[in-house]
């Protein structure tokens, strides 16, 4: 279109910007969050203590029930890790299917990915909870499927779709010249993918993959909506056990927020650091 195609006269200001996904320099440390949360809980607790009521202060309630609530939290983590494992394995397969040369397989895989990527996580969770039976029979063997297993499965569906997208994006980002070079060395397509392209992608895939993990970890609380006894369900039960006092809501949910923050924030920082490191190269 122009006489400036040689790029000599193209202004720096007019170059297409590349958004560098920068994040904060680590100004906020984990311990700040811890202090913040503890401070909030303590403040609530001391305010209560000053009122001099006979009931347990919010802080005492949290201390009393912390072992139970933390067990619930551990359950959340377990579900997230399992869902991530299943989702990653399935997602890599799906991602490679999108990159396949077979048009039917490619289109089907693409449709599956789009479907599970665009559906809300909670809807997918309902989908699995209500439409997967409570037990399956394999070769005459009855395998019971408790709610938490179904929920895990429900979370791994969106993970799968997101991982597939990450794999596809990473493979596409490898310059075409790499394929050409490998092809001219008489590698087969499968060999090129596994020996040349994918090893280059792993580093690129790691940050978005960890992002997905943080999403799953935070999504696991949705299992409480479908009745799995994870941390949020237990929190509601603890609240009821303490007489359902309204002023206990904030400290109890605050405690849950704190637990997730302490778990997810380091992951977020680590991801950001990796993104920065890989960008420099």
């Amino acid at each position: 279109m122009s006489d400036r195609s040689d790029g000599r006269d193209v202004l720096p200001v007019l170059h297409p910007f590349r958004v560098v996904p920068t994040r904060f320099a680590p100004r906020l440390r984990g311990r700040h969050g811890l202090l913040l949360g503890l401070g909030a809980v303590l403040a609530a607790g001391s305010a209560w203590a000053q009122a001099g009521a006979p009931q347990l202060s919010p802080l005492a309630v949290i201390v009393k029930w912390a072992p139970l609530l933390l067990t619930g939290f551990a359950f959340n983590i377990a579900i997230s890790l399992l869902a991530m494992l299943i989702g990653t394995v399935a997602g890599v397969g799906l991602g490679l299917a999108i990159l396949s040369e077979q048009p039917v397989l490619r289109r089907a895989a693409w449709a599956v990915t789009q479907f599970f990527r665009n559906a809300p996580w909670l809807v997918l969770l309902f989908f699995v909870m209500f439409l997967v039976p409570f037990q399956v029979t394999v070769l005459g063997l009855r395998i019971p499927l408790p709610d938490w297993v179904k929920a895990t499965f429900g979370f791994s569906l969106p993970v799968m779709a997101n991982v597939a997208e990450v794999v596809r994006g990473a493979v596409r980002s490898v310059p075409a010249t790499q394929w050409e070079a490998a092809e001219s060395l008489a590698f087969t397509r499968r060999q090129i993918l596994w020996r040349i392209i994918l090893p280059q992608c792993v580093k690129r895939m790691l940050p978005p993959w960890m992002n997905i993990y943080a999403l799953v970890a935070m999504a696991t609380v949705q299992a409480s909506i479908v009745g799995v006894s994870e941390m949020l369900t237990l929190t509601a039960q603890v609240h009821a056990a303490e007489g359902g006092r309204p002023e206990l809501f904030a400290p109890l949910y605050g405690f849950a927020l704190l637990c997730f923050f302490l778990y997810c924030y380091p992951i977020d920082r680590w991801t950001a650091r990796m993104e920065r490191r890989f960008q420099i190269r």
Binding site: S2, D3, R4, R8, D9, L11, P12, V13, L14
Partner: protein
């Protein structure tokens, strides 16, 4: 725009006055005591090797860069004053950059119109009339609705000049405005600046175009390593430089 340029020997009051200006970035001192005067209608060129602090000097004048010490006065405004009204200063001082810095999301005409409307709150119709006149003046009639990305470098630079003129400044600063241009397009920008100077606009230019400086400037300053080594009218400056550094520089660029 039809001002009359006063003869160079008139001892008019300086419109821009720098006295012993120092500027440091951290421990690096970039300007080490610069003093110069610019009188109304004068064209001043600052030349010198790269890294001699020319761009910093010109940026100090419209307070893009705060000075470390010394005084800068522009039409009675104290630039180094910590309570400086930057907006009042920048209404008096126009600036054109090496990289044009047009706003890429607006058409050429909109680029010229934006500041008078947003900053001065002037009437849109009146501003548009003026902007169209300025576009004609920089010989870009017909390019009003083009976006910066559709214009050549020289055209963009002329839009940038028109954009500054739309604010009706008393002084124009030019910071190596032709350095990023193709040799063919340098001329069209220089012609525009020359016409501006002939109209009586007070101009302060940092430039590498020695021939242009010789033709247009009333006074030339040569800076090196943060100090003014030598200055004088072009007639004597280019032929009878006193300092060894000036002579070496001139022999390299001429």
């Amino acid at each position: 725009m039809a001002g009359t340029a006063p003869p160079a020997w008139t001892p008019a009051k300086p419109i821009v006055q720098l006295v012993d200006v120092h500027k440091s970035f951290g421990t690096v001192e970039v300007l080490k005591g610069i003093s110069l005067d610019v009188r109304k209608g004068e064209v001043i060129c600052i030349i010198g090797p790269s890294g001699s602090g020319k761009s910093t000097l010109i940026r100090c004048i419209n307070a893009l860069v705060p000075v470390t010490s010394g005084t800068i006065r522009v039409e009675g405004i104290e630039v180094a004053d910590p309570k400086l009204d930057k907006l009042a200063l920048r209404r008096k001082v126009g600036m054109v950059f090496q990289q044009y810095n047009l706003f890429p999301h607006k058409t050429a005409l909109q680029n010229v119109m934006m500041a008078p409307i947003h900053v001065l709150g002037q009437d849109r119709r009146e501003v548009e009339e003026r902007a169209r006149a300025l576009m004609r003046k920089v010989r870009l009639a017909g390019k009003e609705d083009s976006y910066p990305g559709e214009l050549s470098g020289g055209q963009q630079q002329r839009v940038a000049i028109a954009r500054s003129l739309a604010m009706r400044p008393d002084v124009m600063l030019f910071d190596e405005v032709t350095a990023a241009l193709d040799p063919e397009t340098v001329k069209e920008v220089l012609v525009t600046i020359r016409e501006l100077a002939e109209d009586g606009m007070t101009c302060l230019l940092v430039t590498h175009e020695m021939n242009f400086a010789r033709d247009v400037a009333d006074h030339i300053y040569f800076t090196d390593r943060g100090v003014i080594v030598e200055h004088g009218p072009p007639s004597t400056f280019f032929t009878a430089a006193q300092d060894e550094r000036t002579r070496r520089f001139l022999s390299q660029v001429l």
